[in-house]
């Protein structure tokens, strides 16, 4: 079309040259002809995609869901790449802001002086909803694809992967913030109806989570994914997370049912050695049900937790030391000397990769993500962060069974499997239900150090338990409201339909 317009006047020029006398007319005509432009005003980005051009075939649908996985941690301090530690775990008895934590907001969380304008908690909210929106877009757009565009089995799988991710993020949100807005479809216009949402009751949020995870239970078993798909959400991941959802809601029988199903039918097993959980060569192995995937020094993303807990002044390590062990909480001392987890979880001194000298540390530091293959910037650690792993499923089973039937053999076996792998004695059969409950919690604490679980475990026991534990650890500012996070002030300012969490009003 444009080519045609552009070519025509050139032919006419030759004729004009013949006609001396009408140069005025010819010039005017020329001027007007040239105004037929050959460039177009419509935008057609060459280096970026527009959503209308997307979700047209199977590869695009897969790429869209891949992008949503990445929202587990996008850039910088992001959900499963340190934000959980900085924005959540600091508010527990096991962690504190390290000497290099420069952000006053992080120190506030560590001291329990945070408020509704805490920027790390804002990020929790923001990044979770960002991931939820991406999932919503995936679910809506992929559902609308025809069978000519995508193979129905892949279509269903992708929708269920998106649902799994959506459930995971809502599960985090509802535990942190209590009642939260429940957005289940993509936001496509700037209308007040789409932007100014109201909070849904916690129960409604959980209903969506449970429905999504039930749907996601139809995902393939992890063994049925090919090598290039390792790390995707699987049926086991959905069921394990669902077990955890029920556990959080004290729905013991469903928690036991789901955890049992994972144990019996999904084909997972503990690694013989605890250290293998964090062995780079054993990523996505039999114990890893669902993990945030990292790969450092490859132009991709490293796990920055390694750097945050690493010491700052050992040559060649260059850590941040922004996360520190809260010694008063007693976590380190609670490990038995022969516990194999101790050396994997903590370090008390390090060998400099540059000068070969050994540097003892003033106090133990976290070591799970320290990647000895990396020289220099530990931010390039390639270790995955487990989101849920088989050891935790065993502990979920033990806890649920104990709540239902007391410390039965079944409950003890599940707990002791985790303990024995760590090289420590099993619990005694004589433990009462209440003692056993605490044993399970202590085991979770030790097994899952630096895996983003402590705050959730404290908070789900209720305000009294949480406050007592923190006060015992010297964090005297702890109060009942701290088992929830305040709804970010920014959101309250922007959205007239939103209200603060009742415990946080005027705090």
């Amino acid at each position: 079309m444009e080519e045609g317009f552009c070519a025509k006047p050139i032919i006419m020029n030759k004729q004009f040259i013949q006609m001396k006398k009408i140069h005025l007319l010819s010039t005017v005509i020329l001027i007007f002809l040239i105004t037929i432009s050959c460039s177009k005003l419509s935008e057609d980005p060459a280096g970026a995609l527009v959503s209308e051009q997307f979700y047209l075939n199977q590869d695009q649908a897969i790429a869209a869901v891949t992008g949503t996985y990445r929202k587990l941690y996008e850039t910088g301090q992001s959900l499963y790449n340190s934000l959980f530690q900085i924005g959540v775990e600091m508010a527990t008895d096991d962690y504190e802001a390290g000497p290099r934590a420069r952000n006053a907001h992080v120190r506030a969380i560590s001291n329990l002086t945070h408020d509704a304008s805490n920027d790390r908690m804002e990020q929790l909210w923001k990044q979770s909803y960002d991931a939820i929106n991406a999932s919503n877009v995936n679910i809506a757009k992929i559902s609308a694809m025809s069978s000519g565009q995508i193979e129905p089995t892949i279509q269903l799988r992708l929708i269920n992967e998106a649902k799994f991710l959506r459930a995971l993020h809502y599960f985090n949100l509802v535990r942190w913030f209590g009642a939260v807005p429940l957005v289940t479809s993509p936001v496509e216009t700037l209308s007040p109806q789409e932007l100014f949402v109201t909070k849904a009751a916690e129960n409604d949020v959980y209903e969506l989570i449970i429905a999504d995870l039930k749907a996601a239970s139809a995902l393939p078993n992890y063994k049925n994914y090919g090598d290039t798909d390792k790390g995707r959400a699987s049926s086991g991941a959905a069921k394990s997370l669902l077990a955890k959802v029920y556990l959080t809601r004290s729905d013991w029988s469903n928690a036991k049912l789901l955890a049992g199903e994972v144990i019996d039918k999904e084909g997972y097993a503990l690694f013989p050695e605890f250290s293998d959980v964090f062995n780079i060569d054993k990523k996505n192995g039999s114990e890893h049900i669902f993990s945030a995937q990292f790969k450092g020094n490859s132009g991709y993303q490293g796990n920055s937790l390694a750097s945050r807990s690493a010491p700052a002044d050992i040559p060649g390590i260059n850590g941040d030391y922004a996360d520190a062990l809260h010694l008063e909480g007693g976590l380190y001392k609670s490990f038995a000397a022969n516990d194999k987890r101790l050396a994997v979880t903590f370090t008390t001194g390090m060998l400099s990769p540059t000068d070969g000298k050994y540097y003892p540390l003033a106090k133990p530091q976290f070591n799970k993500y320290y990647d000895e293959t990396v020289v220099g910037n530990q931010g390039q650690s390639s270790k995955n962060t487990p989101i849920i792993r088989y050891a935790e499923v065993l502990l979920i089973f033990a806890e649920a069974e104990n709540e239902l039937n007391g410390p039965t053999l079944e409950a003890r076996n599940a707990l002791n499997a985790v303990r024995r792998r760590a090289g420590v004695e099993g619990v005694l059969a004589s433990e009462t239900k209440d003692v056993f409950r605490e044993s399970v919690f202590e085991e979770r604490r030790k097994e899952l150090v630096y895996e983003y679980q402590r705050w959730f475990d404290l908070a789900r026991r209720g305000a009294v338990y949480y406050v007592a534990k923190l006060k015992a650890a010297g964090k005297t500012n702890a109060a009942a409201r701290h088992i929830h996070f305040p709804t970010p002030q920014r959101e309250l300012n922007l959205n007239p339909n939103l209200s603060q969490h009742p415990d946080w009003i005027n705090k």
Partner: protein
């Protein structure tokens, strides 16, 4: 391919018009039956003038004088003749000639009123202007600076120029009549020989530090004049790009006859204006001991160094001294210009080489220009302006100035074994800045080819058709290498990156221009269509893990880790229709109106087109007979007023579309490509539009020796392109919308005075500008939002600092009563106290903030004086900014007193139990940085910006050597500054719209002195 269709086509049109000229040349000539010969000379120097147009009244026929000033007429008329003589720079003369040959004297134009001023899509005489158009005094054009925008400092009222980096070839930020846009661009549009360019840097994603100013790829030595268009009457013809003002740059042209070979060379040195006082090694060690003792009292008072060791320490390393140097500035220009009656040329070559005041930073430019104008045939005028410039810069990496300041003075540049000290021993994020500077390769090489060519054809008397095509090819290669033996490269065992930017912009303008008179009615009309398209490609790649540092970035394949390459491509298109009419009656009553209709690809589907009209009225009161009688001393007096709308389309590309962005993830330990949604689409996204009213007058007194111009303006920018914050629950943080409005109003005064004329010539130019900026609305229901250390608040100007207010220091015994005003969980004597702004009985950083200053000046001024006596000439520019505040981030870093990093020498008076200071807090290992009024300082300054002293050798001395002119000169920049500002230099800004006036590790400005020679043959 199709984009080049217009280009190709336009070239054919140009050729076609040439062909027309051939046809025209065959038209019959006038009948010869009488002749007149004569000579035209300069009335003062009595030298012949070449190129003067001599015209017989009532006849279209005209001739030009030759290089001896002679002309010859052949005509059908008889003596006496009435001749009209005109030549640029001389007063037009009309006289009756009774005899032949005749000697005619032309007087140099005494006032600037007859000066021809370049305006949008044309030229006008200054006296006929209805809009606000200022011309940069040509004295300021010859400063030895790397880019033309730097010459604007202090020269023109209403134009504020601040440095964003002192890096050689670094940038400046320009605001004409205040900044209005919060998120769009605020920089003016530059039009270089008719080609509109924005001075924006496209990042290749490679390298570190302040990028090279794209305008540095145009040699300032080739510039003939710079005009600044300020009000809507002048800028509305640039429509959607006119809102921030327009700077018209015209390069040098040849003149018929005067074959002139010129050489100008200068050589100079530049040095940093000052150093910041920091602690020496002894004092730093004392501070660190104190901080460590405070953190761990059980480990004793000498944890870092013992008393004896401290006594040995002395000065330690002065990191600033290690990094600062005296840098050379080397500028050479060779040009040849001249021509004959039908063709004129200007050929210029330039070489500019500047070393920074920081080691291993520099900027070089080499280039040439060729400007040719020709009248091949009577009705046809053609011209081509082409410049090719290559630039090469080595850039100071980001954060280097900050690192120089805070690197402990106890650390050394090298270890005992001769290797570099890797980093600050106590802070892992700061590398050894000297190693960084010396060993990092961080270069940016640019090649810019900017050219326009036109053909102008006279269709009828007064009616001209013009076709202009232009192209701007702008490419850049960024190269970056971090060797494995410095800290930044150690982790990756060397890191190499290469980035390439390739920008192509083409332009086609087609205009019809009519000038005519009917009796006392004078008209000028313009009609046109223009189109511009720009396409930009970016590519970068890199590698890490090298077995040798020898190969730098020249062998990416030898790195064992390949950094994921990336590329991007984007383009924009602008289509415009324009029309303008200037009318005056008897040179007394002027009316102009213009309209531009712009269509831009950048905006939403439903909002692509915008109209930008303007209207202006002026009254040349001095031409009224009654006025001349009452005020005989007034030579000219003109009252002007204008009103119009301009736009701003600088929002980047694809902002209205629901684009996706690339976001990868790992499956099976392999990186897999993914995408995620980027924004909510906004089909209604449109222009920012600025309504501007201007009222002013120009007056000339006492034989034009005093010329005074005053303008009042009011600018209201509405539909601000704003990233409006939306609830995060939507999945997005912001949405670009047209929201909010900002106003700028101000007063501009400028005075030109010829104080003395005769043996001693003394001219003074003074300009004062007052601008008041105010945020009017920022969207429905919103009254303010905080952006870092700033607040955007209705009723307040942009650039308002928002932070805490200090309230002395907590003293011993006050821990319980005042401790809650320290913001620390465990307050301790010596902590800084802050005011409890919200009155809740305690201090929190988030809630106890208030407005603590503003970066907008009360007024700015410039004062240029030039004095000449015999062969000597002296000129200087004094420039100042009054009433603005600056945020000194360097100082905030230096007042942490952590003992982890160096501190300002004010740390010597810090709080200790024995020195209960109320000004400076105690040493503390890990204080949280709090932004307070402590770091907001007055940024007012007055400075001797430039000084030029030259001597012109008498002509009689030079005749033997056939030299026309020889001038020796000394020139200096930033020679003296009066300010209370504690940082390196008060003339700084971060360059961002909102965070104006932030001085954070900016490459410091320099003082430079050069000596030069200027020779003309």
């Amino acid at each position: 391919m199709k984009k080049y269709g217009v280009l190709r086509y336009s070239t054919l049109v140009v050729l076609f018009l040439y062909a027309f000229g051939i046809v025209q040349a065959q038209e019959p000539k006038p009948i010869i039956n009488a002749s007149l010969v004569g000579k035209v000379i300069d009335a003062t120097t009595k030298e012949p003038i070449q190129g003067v147009t001599v015209q017989l009244e009532a006849v279209t026929h005209s001739v030009q004088t030759d290089n001896q000033g002679n002309f010859q007429f052949v005509t059908g008329q008889k003596l006496p003749f009435t001749l009209i003589l005109s030549f640029l720079g001389y007063e037009k003369k009309r006289l009756v000639v009774n005899s032949s040959p005749a000697v005619i004297e032309l007087t140099p134009a005494s006032a600037d009123l007859d000066e021809v001023v370049v305006v949008g899509y044309g030229t006008q005489k200054r006296r006929d202007l209805t809009g606000s158009v200022a011309t940069l005094p040509d004295k300021l054009l010859r400063q030895p600076v790397s880019s033309l925008d730097q010459t604007l400092k202090g020269g023109i009222s209403g134009v504020q120029v601040t440095q964003t980096s002192g890096q050689p070839g670094g940038g400046v930020s320009i605001r004409i009549r205040g900044g209005a846009s919060i998120q769009g661009g605020n920089e003016p549009l530059y039009v270089i020989d008719g080609f509109p360019v924005y001075n924006q840097t496209e990042s290749t994603g490679v390298g570190s530090g302040t990028p090279v100013n794209p305008l540095a790829s145009i040699s300032p030595t080739d510039i003939e004049s710079i005009e600044v268009l300020k009000d809507a009457a002048a800028t509305a013809i640039y429509g959607s790009r006119g809102a921030n003002g327009v700077i018209l740059v015209t390069t040098k042209k040849g003149r018929a006859g005067h074959v002139q070979l010129s050489y100008d060379g200068s050589f100079g040195a530049q040095n940093v204006l000052k150093q910041i006082d920091v602690l020496n090694a002894h004092d730093f060690a004392v501070l660190r001991n104190e901080a460590l003792y405070d953190a761990n009292p059980n480990l004793g008072a000498y944890q870092y160094r013992t008393k004896a060791e401290i006594d040995q320490l002395g000065e330690g390393t002065n990191w600033q001294k290690e990094a600062f140097q005296s840098g050379k500035v080397y500028n050479q220009q060779l040009s040849l210009s001249g021509g004959a009656e039908k063709i004129q040329y200007y050929l210029g070559a330039n070489y500019f080489d500047q070393d920074g005041v920081i080691i291993n930073t520099n900027f070089k430019r080499i280039g040439f220009r060729s400007n040719i104008d020709a009248n091949p045939f009577d009705r046809l005028q053609v011209g081509a302006n082409l410049s090719v410039n290559k630039t090469n810069a080595q850039i100071a990496p980001t954060g280097i100035v900050n690192a120089l300041l805070i690197m402990p003075s106890t650390a050394t540049v090298y270890e005992a074994n001769g290797a570099y000290t890797l980093r600050n021993p106590f802070e892992n994020i700061f590398a050894n800045p000297i190693a960084t500077l010396k060993e990092t390769t961080n270069t940016s090489q640019g090649l810019r080819i900017l050219g326009t060519s036109f053909a102008q054809y006279r269709i009828l008397k007064g009616l001209q058709a013009k076709v202009l095509v232009g192209v701007d090819l702008n490419s850049r290669d960024d190269k970056y290498y971090l060797p494995s033996y410095i800290y930044e490269g150690a982790g990756t065992k060397g890191k190499a990156s290469l980035g390439n930017f390739d920008g192509t912009s083409w332009l086609n303008e087609n205009t019809l221009n009519y000038t005519g008179s009917i009796g006392q009615h004078n008209f000028n009309a313009l009609l046109g269509f223009t189109q511009q398209e720009s396409k930009n490609d970016i590519f970068n790649a890199g590698a890490e893990n090298f077995v040798t540092d020898e190969l730098l970035f020249n062998s990416l394949q030898s790195g064992s880790t390949i950094v994921r390459p990336s590329s991007d491509s984007y383009s924009w298109v602008l289509h415009s229709y324009l029309a303008r009419i200037n009318y005056n009656y008897a040179n007394k009553y002027y009316v102009s109106a213009s309209l531009r209709r712009d269509g831009s690809s950048r905006f939403g589907a439903d909002n692509k087109w915008g109209n930008f009209p303007s209207v202006a009225l002026s009254w040349r009161v001095a031409n009224e007979s009654f006025f001349k009688e009452i005020f005989p001393a007034v030579n000219d007096f003109k009252i002007r007023t204008s009103f119009g709308t301009t736009g701003n389309q600088e929002i980047g590309q694809y902002q209205s579309l629901s684009t996706l962005y690339s976001l990868n993830y790992l499956f099976g330990n392999n990186v897999v490509a993914g995408f995620a949604p980027q924004r909510i689409p906004n089909k209604n996204l449109g222009w920012e539009s600025t309504l501007q009213y201007d009222g002013g007058f120009d007056i000339s007194l006492l034989n034009n020796r005093l010329q005074f111009t005053a303008d009042y303006y009011y600018k209201k920018t509405k539909d601000l392109l704003l990233n409006v914050e939306i609830p995060w629950t939507s999945g997005y943080a912001t949405s670009l919308q047209n929201f909010g409005s900002v106003s700028n109003r101000g007063l501009e005064l400028s005075l030109k005075s010829r104080n003395l004329q005769g043996r001693v010539n003394w001219n003074t130019d003074i300009n004062f500008s007052f601008n008041r900026n105010k945020v009017l609305t920022i969207g429905e229901g919103a009254s303010s939002y905080i952006s870092g250390n700033y607040i955007i608040k209705v009723g307040e100007p942009i650039g308002t600092f928002y932070g805490t207010v200090t309230d002395g220091i907590l003293q011993v015994g006050e821990e319980n009563s005042k401790g809650k005003f320290t913001g620390n969980a465990t307050p301790k004597a010596g902590d800084r106290l802050y005011k409890d702004i919200d009155g809740d009985g305690q201090f929190t950083t988030a809630n106890d903030r208030t407005i603590i200053g503003n970066a907008q000046p009360d007024f700015i001024f410039g004062l240029t004086n030039s004095i000449s006596y015999k062969g000597f000439d002296l000129s200087f520019l004094i420039q100042g900014t009054v009433g603005n505040d600056l945020l000194n981030i360097n100082r905030q870093n230096l007042e942490m007193f952590t003992g982890q990093q160096n501190a300002s020498s004010d740390a010597l008076t810090r709080w200790t139990p024995s020195n209960p200071s109320q000004l400076y807090p105690r040493a503390k290992l890990d204080p949280a940085p709090v932004f307070s009024n402590q770091f907001v300082e007055s940024g007012s300054f007055v400075r001797l910006k430039s000084l030029h002293f030259g001597y012109n050798f008498p002509k009689e001395w030079l005749q033997g050597a056939s030299i026309k002119n020889l001038n020796l000169y000394l020139t200096a920049q930033n020679l003296l500054t009066w300010t209370k500002y504690k940082g390196f230099d008060p003339e700084v800004t971060s360059g961002s719209n909102v965070q104006i006036g932030t001085d954070s590790g900016i490459y410091p400005a320099a003082r430079s002195i050069s000596a030069g020679i200027s020779l003309t043959f």
